[in-house]
Symmetry: C2
Subunit: 436 residues, 2 copies
C-alpha cells in the first residue's frame, strides 16, 4: 500500500499552511506515516508537527506506535509537546509520557502543571540563563555548549546563581558584538519586561506585541525565572482572542475547538443560550405591539414600516458597537473616554439620522401611504438612529466597567434592545403626529 | 514652564502601552519635549516613538523643531521612520527628509516607494547579507562590523555577490554554534520562505505566523533580496485585519484611522453606504407586509410576532456568519468545504429550530392568542431558523469564491436578507395553518 514514490516530499510539506498539512498527514495510513518518519527523520517531523493545531497533532500522534510517538515528543519543543499531550485522553497520555526520555518527560510534565490559559501554560523551559559574573567570551562559550537545547538563544537571561532570580537580559547580538572581556553584568539590561506565570496568557501576548519583543521571561512570585514565551505564540493568542470577539459580537459563545471538527450538538450548545435569551428579550416587542394594537388597527399602514425601522435601528447599533469594541480591543478607548465616545456617536447619529429620515420619507411616498404617516416614519427613523447609537456606544464601556467582556454586547443584543424601544419611539411619534 | 523634575522617567515611559505613551508625550509642551530629548538622548526617544501608532508619532514629530525631528528619524528603524513620514503632509515631509542624514533619507525614500499595503511597505532594509564563500568565522567577523546597522541579525541571509539573488539563510545561532572553518554554503538552509515585495502585506504576515519565523525576506521579481519583515510587525497586521473583519461583520466600512481621532463626518461616511443599502434591501419587507395586508387585518395577532420571528432569524444568521467567517479567517474552512458547512449548519439549525419553536409556542400561550396562531408561530420559527442558517452558512463561501471579502456578509446584511424572506415564510405558514 505505501509506495514511497507517492509520499509528499519535505519541501512541499513545509510550504503547506497548517490546515492543509494536517489534512495531508492525517490522510496517510500508519504504514505511510512510518515511511515518512523513516525518510525525513524525527527532527524534521517534529518541526512539521509543531506547526499543527495541537488537536490535529494529537490525532496524528494516536496513529503512531507508542515508541514512534515518544520519539516525536522528545524532538518537539517542550511547550508544543505539552500542548499536544494536553489534547490526549489521560489513559493515553500517561503511558506515552513514561516512554518519553526522562528529562523531556519531566519538562513536559512541569508545563502541564500550568493551566493552558495562563502565561505559564504558554512558556517553554528552553531558555539560556547565565551568571552575571561571566565575561562576554565565557558566556558565548557557555552558549555554544547549551544552545542546542534552547529554543530561544536570541535573548540570554542573567539570573542570580544562588536564587535563580531574574537580574537582567542581553541579546545574543550584544554578546557577539561586545569586547570579549566585558563582564555580562555590564552588558545586561536591568529593566527586564517580565510576566508572572499565573497571569492570563493574553497579558503576556500583549506585552510581547506592545514592546516588540522576540521573547518574554516568565517568573514565579519570587521573581525566579521559569521559562520564556516566544513572539510567534503571542500572535496566535492575540488572533484567537480577536476571533473570539468576532464570535461574541455575532451573538454566539466562542467555540473552543476548530469549527470544522465541532459537532452540530456542540454548535447548538454554544448558540442556544444567547438565542433563547435574545428571544425572551425580544418577546416584549409583542407586548409593545399589543399595547399599541388600537393604533395599529386604525392605521394598518404603520405596520408596513415596523421591520424597516427596527432593522435600521439594529443596523446602526451593530455598526457602532463593532467599531467601539474594536477600538477598545486596540486600547484606543477606555472608560474615561465614555463621554467623548457618546458625543462623537451622537454627532455621527445626527448626520446618519438625517440621511435615514430622508430615505424613509422617500420610501413612504413610494408605498403610497398618507403624508402624515410618511412624516411619522421619517421622524421615528431619525430618533431611532440616535437612540441606537447612544445605547451601542455606551453599553460596551459600561459593561467593561462592571467587569463584563464588552464583546457580549453583540450585534444581536443591540438589535434586540433597540427593537422594542424603537417600537415605543415609533408609536409615540405616531400618536403625536397622527393624533391617535 | 518645563520643570525637569515633573518630567516622567524613562523606565515609566517604556512600561506604558502605546496609547498611554502617546497621550503622555503629546501632552507635553515643545519645551518639555526638548528637555526629554536632552535627558534621554535621541536613541532612547527613537525607540519610544517607534512603539507609537505612526499617526501619533507624526503628530509628535510636528511638535519638534525640524533638526530635532530629523535626528529622531535618523535613529528610528527605517521602516518605522517611513511609516511616520507617510503620515506627514507632503509639504512637511519633503523639507524634513532633506535634513535627515543622506543614507538614512535614502533608505526612507526607498521604503516610501512601496505602497503601505504591500509587503514592500512593511519591510526594513536593515538586514545582513553575506556571500556563500565566507567561513563561519569570517561571517561572524563581518557581522560584528555590520550588525550595529541591522535590526535583525538573528537571521543572516546569503546572497549571490554578483546578482544579489537570495541563495539561503542561516540563523545567528547556527553561526555561533558551528565550527569556525565551515563555509557558509554548507551551513545555510536553501529552501528559504520568502515573499515578493508587491504581495499584499497580509500574505507576508501570514507566512511569518504560520512558519513561526522571526523575520521574512522580501525579494523583487528577479528574486533579489530587498529587505526583511519582522514578526512583531506581522502580528500588528494580522490583528488589524481581524479588527477590520469585526467592523465589516458589524456592517460598517472599517476605519483607516484610530477611532478616537476620527471625526463624526468620517464615521458617518464609513457607515452611511451600508446603512442606506440595508435600508433599501429592508424596504421590501414593507412590500411583503402590504402584500399580506388582508391576512394581517383578519388576524392582527400575527403582527405581534413579526419582530420576534425576524429577530430570531437575524440572530441565528448572525451567529452562523460570524462563526463561519472566523473559521475562514483561521484557514479552517474553504470553498471545497461548502457542503460540509451546509450539512453541519442544517443539523445545528434543526436542533436550534426545535428549541425556538418550543419557546415560540410558550410565548404565544403567554400572549393569549389562539392555539392555531401559536402553532403558526412555532412552525414559522423553526423554518426561519433553518433558512437563516442556510443563507448565513453558504453566503460567505460563495462570496469568497466570487472574489468578494466574506466579511461583508455582515450580521446586519444577514438579518436584512432573513427579515423579508422570513416574513414570506411566516405568512405562507399562516395561510396554510389558519386557512386564510
Amino acid at each position: 500500500m505505501s509506495q514511497p514514490a507517492t509520499l509528499p516530499d519535505l519541501a512541499t510539506l513545509r510550504a503547506l499552511p497548517p490546515r492543509d498539512l494536517a489534512d495531508t498527514l492525517l490522510a496517510l495510513s500508519p504504514a505511510e506515516l512510518g515511511a515518512l518518519f523513516e525518510r525525513f527523520g524525527d527532527e524534521a517531523m517534529a518541526e512539521l508537527v509543531g506547526e499543527l493545531d495541537p488537536r490535529d497533532a494529537a490525532r496524528l500522534i494516536r496513529k503512531l506506535s507508542r515508541p514512534a510517538a515518544a520519539d516525536l515528543l522528545e524532538e518537539m519543543a517542550p511547550d508544543e509537546a505539552a500542548d499536544v499531550v494536553e489534547e490526549l485522553p489521560p489513559e493515553q497520555a500517561e503511558p506515552l509520557l513514561t516512554e518519553v526520555e526522562p528529562d523531556a518527560a519531566r519538562e513536559i510534565r512541569e508545563l502541564l502543571a500550568y493551566p493552558p490559559e495562563s502565561a505559564g501554560g504558554m512558556m517553554t523551559p528552553q531558555y539560556v540563563a547565565i551568571s552575571p559574573d561571566l565575561t562576554a567570551d565565557e558566556a558565548l562559550a557557555h552558549l555554544r555548549r547549551l544552545a542546542e537545547e534552547a529554543e530561544v538563544v536570541y535573548y540570554v537571561y542573567v539570573t542570580d546563581p544562588a536564587t535563580r532570580r531574574l537580574l537582567g537580559v542581553l541579546s545574543l547580538r550584544n554578546l557577539v558584538l561586545s569586547r570579549p572581556t566585558t563582564p555580562v553584568r555590564d552588558l545586561m539590561i536591568r529593566e527586564v519586561i517580565r510576566v508572572r506565570a499565573d497571569a492570563p496568557r493574553e497579558e503576556a501576548a500583549r506585552l510581547l506585541d506592545q514592546h516588540h519583543l522576540i521573547a518574554l521571561p516568565v517568573v514565579d512570585e519570587q521573581d525566579r525565572l521559569l521559562g520564556v514565551i516566544t513572539a510567534d505564540d503571542a500572535a496566535d493568542v492575540l488572533l484567537e482572542e480577536a476571533g473570539e470577539d468576532l464570535e461574541r459580537v455575532g451573538g454566539a459563545q466562542p467555540l473552543d475547538e476548530p469549527y470544522i471538527t465541532a459537532s452540530p450538538l456542540t454548535l447548538a450548545r454554544k448558540r442556544v443560550g444567547w438565542l433563547l435569551l435574545l428571544f425572551v428579550a425580544e418577546a416584549y416587542t409583542g407586548t409593545v405591539l399589543r399595547h399599541f394594537a388600537d393604533e395599529l388597527e386604525r392605521v394598518v399602514a404603520l405596520a408596513f414600516f415596523i421591520p424597516l425601522l427596527i432593522g435600521t435601528g439594529g443596523n446602526t447599533g451593530s455598526q457602532v458597537v463593532t467599531t467601539v469594541i474594536r477600538a477598545m480591543a486596540m486600547g484606543e478607548v477606555r472608560m474615561r473616554d465614555a463621554f467623548r465616545v457618546w458625543r462623537k456617536e451622537v454627532a455621527t447619529a445626527v448626520l446618519l439620522g438625517a440621511a435615514m429620515a430622508a430615505a424613509a420619507l422617500l420610501r413612504a411616498r413610494l408605498l403610497g401611504v398618507a403624508p402624515e404617516v410618511g412624516l411619522t416614519v421619517a421622524l421615528a427613523a431619525a430618533a431611532i438612529v440616535l437612540w441606537a447609537a447612544t445605547v451601542a456606544g455606551l453599553l460596551p464601556l459600561v459593561l467593561r466597567r462592571l467587569g463584563v467582556d464588552p464583546a457580549v454586547v453583540s450585534a444581536p443584543l443591540i438589535a434586540t434592545l433597540v427593537d422594542g424601544t424603537g417600537l415605543v419611539i415609533y408609536f409615540e411619534v405616531a400618536r403625536r403626529v397622527l393624533g391617535l
